[in-house]
Amino acid sequence: MNHGLILPILLPLFTGSALLLMRGASLPVQRGLSLLASWALLPLAIWLALLAGDGELRLYVLGDWQPPFGIVLLLDRLSAVMLIITALLAGFSVLYASRGDDERGADFHALFQFQLVGINGAFLTGDLFNLFVFFEILLISSYALLLHGQGPDRVRAGLHYVVLNLVGSSLFLLGVSVLYGLTGTLNMADLAIRVAAAPAEDAPLLRAAGFLLLVVFGLKAAIIPLHTWLPSAYSAASAPVAALFAIMTKIGLYAILRVFTLIFGGTGPLDGMIDDWIWPLALATLAIGAFGALAARDLRMLLAHLVIVSVGTLLAGFALGSAAALSASLYYLIHSSLVSGGLFLLADLIVRQRGATQATLRSAPALRQPLLLGAMFFAAAVSVSGLPPFSGFIGKVMLMRSAVDGPDIAWLWAVLLTGGLAMLIALSRAGSLVFWRANEDEPLRERADPVRLLACLGLLSASLLMVVYAGPLQGYLQATADQLLDLGPYLRLIPGGGA
């Protein structure tokens, strides 16, 4: 048993606890520790990804209670990829936060580390109830991080976010307990075996449990009609928190992928039960996000709607369901998490030079560094709306090519391309307003902080690197998609499971 598997959970857990104990320590010490722990996650995640690259499924059996008893962690290629994205976003966000955003309230770094515990745990767990527990850990830290730094806007957005997610947690518990009541297990692989073999009279209840889980994950992922909390929450949060939140919707999508390929996948009567539902939902989410982006009167609100567009795009890829579509979606997932994280940081850099106008899209004093920020905004906008030469383009092309059937192609291409056009219009309108329509007021004297710039550039440059290394990356993701769709090895983790 490889103890490295549990390190992505333990490292932030111990760092966070230590930070709580050291509340009296000076801010530089806290920042140093938090930076060190966040950046240590990256080599760890890369090592786990290399380990998972051999295609074997690795279990970490807590307390040596062999499955299906006890709690297991499960490392496959998908978990490893998600861990790398989290580590990158966390590293750059905490770097950005260390230049001042963490001073506005107490315990920013401890909360940040606990949030990482929840996120990494959700990606690694192989147990449905444990998934719930890690969801709660990441949610309660995200509540506190969202409200960090006060202000009426944050409290207002925070209240909606908290109440909605508490209702979501209740539904999650209902779904999980129905599954347990019918199958007597919570281990995901064991659940897959038992759901596939369930008697026909249990099928309606299992289906109900599955749809309850879909509602919960849809709420986390901000799928229409459960997306209304996202724009206000993301635009109210401070920049590093919003950048880390770029992974939050992806956790919902990850859970959908995990639960509905494994537990409700396979050969059982419930195979593909959500496909008819998520396809129209995906396209509707994409369209609503694009409309929202066009209507936004605030730069951060605009970016939040771009997150909704990316959720719709990813869900469309999941709904197509083939290995090619899944690997294209995973490529797009990495791209959209990192670039939208970078965009939230960039928006904050821009807003800091706009004085009292803040993020509202109307004329303001000229920016202090229009060329630098403008070039960054231009590159990020081109990438996020899916034009060459950046990663958004490659992701979209792969996704469109993976649609094979007649009506699917027509719908996907029409909605995806129109959505891309809408994003382009919204971003160019916002960009020309911010950078060219300056009023006569005196520009602010303060230049952008170099470390903040570095953090923002780091995330945005991922888009370029993903193009340069598209070949090897795509190879890994293709293998990831194949691994997800081949249930045999997962079922064989349970003694006597899988033929």
């Binding site: 409290v155 908290v162 508490l166």
Partner: protein
């Protein structure tokens, strides 16, 4: 007993949903609490209802399922923490926004 139990849970959830939709912070907190109680009872019942089924090996004829009891403990602890957080948030919202409406402003009449 099952019908009575299920009816009780139904009434609790219905009351909880009603309170949740009241759009004032305090009823919302009460509604969330009621719903989470109902959910906890529901988890407990997933180990099957019965009398004289102790979850200890050898102490009764038929053994009760210990796992839902463990799950319900976890759920209670988490629910308790979340309720405490919501109450604090509600108080802050009153202090900062100045109204107890969940949208942070009084609805226009």
């Amino acid at each position: 007993m099952e019908a009575f139990y299920a009816g009780t849970l139904g009434v609790m959830v219905a009351s909880g949903v009603y309170l949740l939709l009241r759009a004032r912070v305090f009823p919302v907190v009460m509604g969330l609490t009621l719903i989470s109680y109902a959910v906890n009872l529901f988890i407990f019942s997933m180990g099957r209802l019965g009398t004289d089924t102790v979850a200890v090996v050898g102490s009764s004829e038929t053994m009760g399922d210990p796992l839902p009891q463990a799950l319900v403990l976890t759920a209670i602890v988490i629910g308790f923490a979340m309720t405490a957080f919501t109450v604090v948030l509600a108080l802050r919202s009153m202090g900062e926004v100045g109204t107890d409406h969940v949208d942070g402003q009084e609805p226009r009449a």
